[in-house]
């Protein structure tokens, strides 16, 4: 079982307290009604799903209830860091 750090609770907690919530850093456009089909497809349906570092949303659903973001290696499953919703993508250069 993975330990996940909730950036709001500032604790490493068992993964069963958390719920995965898809790719991070997708912003719902304010002009959503004006998007072309292709733009809407890109926003709503297309996901990167890379092998390697992924940025994804998690929710501490059985804890504080907050949504936050995580950088995780999809090969090793290792969480590189977690950070609060709304914060920019972290620079991961120095990390493994």
């Amino acid at each position: 079982m993975l330990l996940i750090r909730c950036p709001y609770c500032e604790k490493d907690l068992p993964e069963v307290e958390f719920r995965h919530a898809g790719e991070a850093h997708l912003v719902r456009p304010s002009n959503i009604t004006e998007m072309s089909d292709a733009e809407f497809e890109g926003y709503f349906f297309i996901r990167q799903n890379p092998k390697g570092i992924v940025f994804e949303r998690w929710r501490h659903v059985h804890g504080c209830g907050r949504f936050f973001n995580a950088a995780r290696d999809s090969v090793s499953d290792k969480f590189l860091t977690t950070y609060k919703a709304g914060e920019p993508k972290p620079v991961l250069g120095d990390r493994e």
Partner: protein, 995 residues
Amino acid sequence: MTAPYRIAGKGHLGTAPVARFTFDGKSYAGLEGDTLASALLANGVHLVGRSFKYHRPRGFLSSGVEEPNALVGVERDAARTTPNVRATVQELYDGLQAVSQNRWPSLSFDVGAVNNLGSPFFSAGFYYKTFMWPKAAWKHLYEPFIRRAAGLGVAPEQPDPDHYAARYEHCDLLVVGGGVAGLTAALAAAESGARVVLVDEQPEFGGSLRFESQTRIDGQDGWDWAQSAVHRLAGMDNVRLLTRTTAFGYHAQNMVAMIERVTEHLPGPLPDLPRERLWQVRAKQVVLATGSIERHMVFPNNDRPGIMLASAGRTFLNHFGVAVGRNVGIYTSNDSAYYAAIDLKKAGVSVAAIIDVRDNPKSAIVDQARALGIEIKAGHVVSGSKGHLRVSAMIVKPRGGGAEQTIAVDAMLTSSGWTPSVHLFSQSRGKVAYDEATQRFLPGTYAQACVSVGACNGSDRLEDLLIEASQAGRGAAQAAGVDHDAAGAYPEASAAEVWTGGMLGVAPGVEDKKAFVDFQNDVTAKDIAQAVREGMRSIEHVKRFTTNGMATDQGKTSNMHGLAIAAEVLGKPIPEVGLTTFRQPYTPVTFGAIAGNARGALFDPTRRTAIHSWAEEHGAEFEDVGQWKRAWYFPTAGEDMQAAINRECVTVRQNAGIFDASTLGKIEVVGPDAATFMELLYTNPWQKLEPGRCRYGIMLREDGYVYDDGVVGRLAADRFHVTTTTGGAARVLHHMEDYLQTEFPHLKVYLTSISEQWAVIAVQGPKSRDIIAPLVEGIDISDAAMPHMSVREGKICGVPTRLFRMSFTGERGFEINVPADYGRSVWEAVWAEGKKHGACAYGTETMHVLRAEKGYIIVGQETDGTATPDDVGLAWAIGKAKKDFVGIRGLQRQDLVAPGRKQLVGLRTKNSTTVLEEGAQLVADPNQPIPMKMLGHVTSSYWSENCGRSIALAMVEGGRNRIGDILYVPMPDNTIEVEVTEPIFFDEKGERLNG
């Protein structure tokens, strides 16, 4: 009574009490501390099983968990029969009853052994090739036959009466394996003050010191040193010692899963104890001291009962005090088997000869054997064995060829070297590296905070091992953040057993005969070579084609041999052929231990409403809706389900009905921006909804599909009481929180689940107002003051209420929300009033029928995650002037506005008494060829007593343009004619809402 092969004064059991047991109904005596294997061997019993495929007689290969052959059933009572127990692991207790498996009619005469004669036909891949055709025969003929003939034991048919426990543990250091390396590492860490857990699968710590007769540490005999080390550890508060506990899974972030066998070694049953305990240990550091496993020699007919690993022979002798025979032959390619010969000889057992494939073995231990007068035939091979139910002779010849010689034996011990146990290391995602010089895979690159020590790390010299393990223990304590002063001295090796080398693959002299690699799956060297010749290149393919290493022992003795044979035939070095993946569990783990308490009533929480007990007392039948138990219908004496529902449906529309709607999801949306938030989350407009009024809301996902629905009451400008479907409560709140926290965080709103805080009593029917009128305080419930779709706060029966005027039946109706603690008392008061007006209690089935009569949809029944509001006739609920809401763009997608979408319609069967099956398909022409063009399907279907006929709702392509058309429902035995109608069957004008 003395068992014939027990040697007085040998072994570690001492004067243990006698334990009586039976095997296949015959009584024997062993000692407490024996395994079933050692106790049987003490009685001279070697034949214990039949092999999986060929039904060949088999005995014990090993003395431990790697055992592939000696699988037996252990029978305590009808519910406690455990199949496939390794006799080498099962501890003896007084009264133990064991039976052999996979034989008929008996172990010594087995009809299935005819497979052995036909073995040329049962070669590798036989099943894949032979049972391909005809296709249907697999299911009805081949598979049942193969399962019967090639089987393991039989599982008990009764439920498991035992219970299983689970525990979590956190420690600085987990040491896996309590042999010399593990004990040393644990001592070093524990003396530094670290919190240490030491775990071993055996009943006692000591590992190979159980059989090593020549090892001395700190001047003590190895076994005695181990016991004193355990004694020291047991006296420390910071140490937890777990025996009979297998670390079987190494997970991420140093979480190790372990299984502790609590009562398997005791006569029972012991209802106060769990049978097994699952440990989940989170360790800052892990030391793996998992040792190594000896390999057998691969030679023709190497599987006869009595042919065993040299280390097993030594364990039976030196630990259990049991000789495996009276005249034992040894076959080896390395030094370790010499120790077995020496131990046997010293114990007074005749050693027929040591056959060594090496031309000129030279070492102190070889000299020792020679000095004892043991015949050593160097440069010789064993080209076969004789005997039927037990080995009677080995056939020996010079390695380079020459005359064969038959040497009589009654047991054989073999060794081709030792395979480091890197299972857990590999599970931790560490990468193994092949050591060419010693022909073995060793821990290479580590992926977690762990270190391997001892035999599993390839550390062959005891002197080095003790230093390595001590340093690992101290280093782990330090890495875990434990301060320690310079700790004590390392243990010192006073005398050590030394062996290295060995061989992989087929021993020389094997011709076209059965030389077994994997005993449990009956895989021979020839099978593996054949798999390569037939095109298998990767070891993963060879494994699956031959099933080598795929039995319950997971190839602990066979994988390296199989790999070496494949590599040789391929002409490639071993590392290029690859190693199969080590997966958990290390040894078999019971489902009971994994399930723990999560079974029966504790499998999943059961949610009951505040009114549940009343429904129970009044004879309700219940149905499961998610985790909820909901009253389904309330049969009176003599009524069947349909009669009860008919009565309830008619009573609601004639008088009134009372319904427990407490399970509805309820969310309070509060804050200055509450209306703005509601506008964004629901399709409907909310800004202009006046406090005190309600609206039916539809929630979409961003893709435009219906996600949930429910009636929303506005209690104040900044406060909404939102209801959701029963099943949707949690995900709707999650969906709302997601948007609030991440997309609209600027809105000042908070969301609170209030599903369990409010009990909900629906009172529906023409008499509903009369029923609640005497109970309500401070609310004018006249039509003028409180019209349909309004909400008021006040009191009922003296407790606070949120009273909704709303209807899911099409009748005048109220939903009384009261604090859940008062749910039952208010229900009883309403019920008392209701009875005066001829009301009934009704359940979910009547609720479904009544709403279908009115064509009200249920999300998840009419919708399936691909329905838009317009598809289900709810386009009116979309705020046309709204600039934004979740799903607004999705609704504009081409396919969602294209003609020909499935739309909600009603269906009337031509024969009014025919009730359609939900899920049945609709076609325009029942005579078209199969596959027919399907236009849609029935989503809801009931007998409606109020309509005097069957009714159904359906989703049909272009359905609203087909009103009046005739469609057909093809069923297996007939075709049903239906007319497409508007999706409403009762009170089409909606007059009864105020009736």
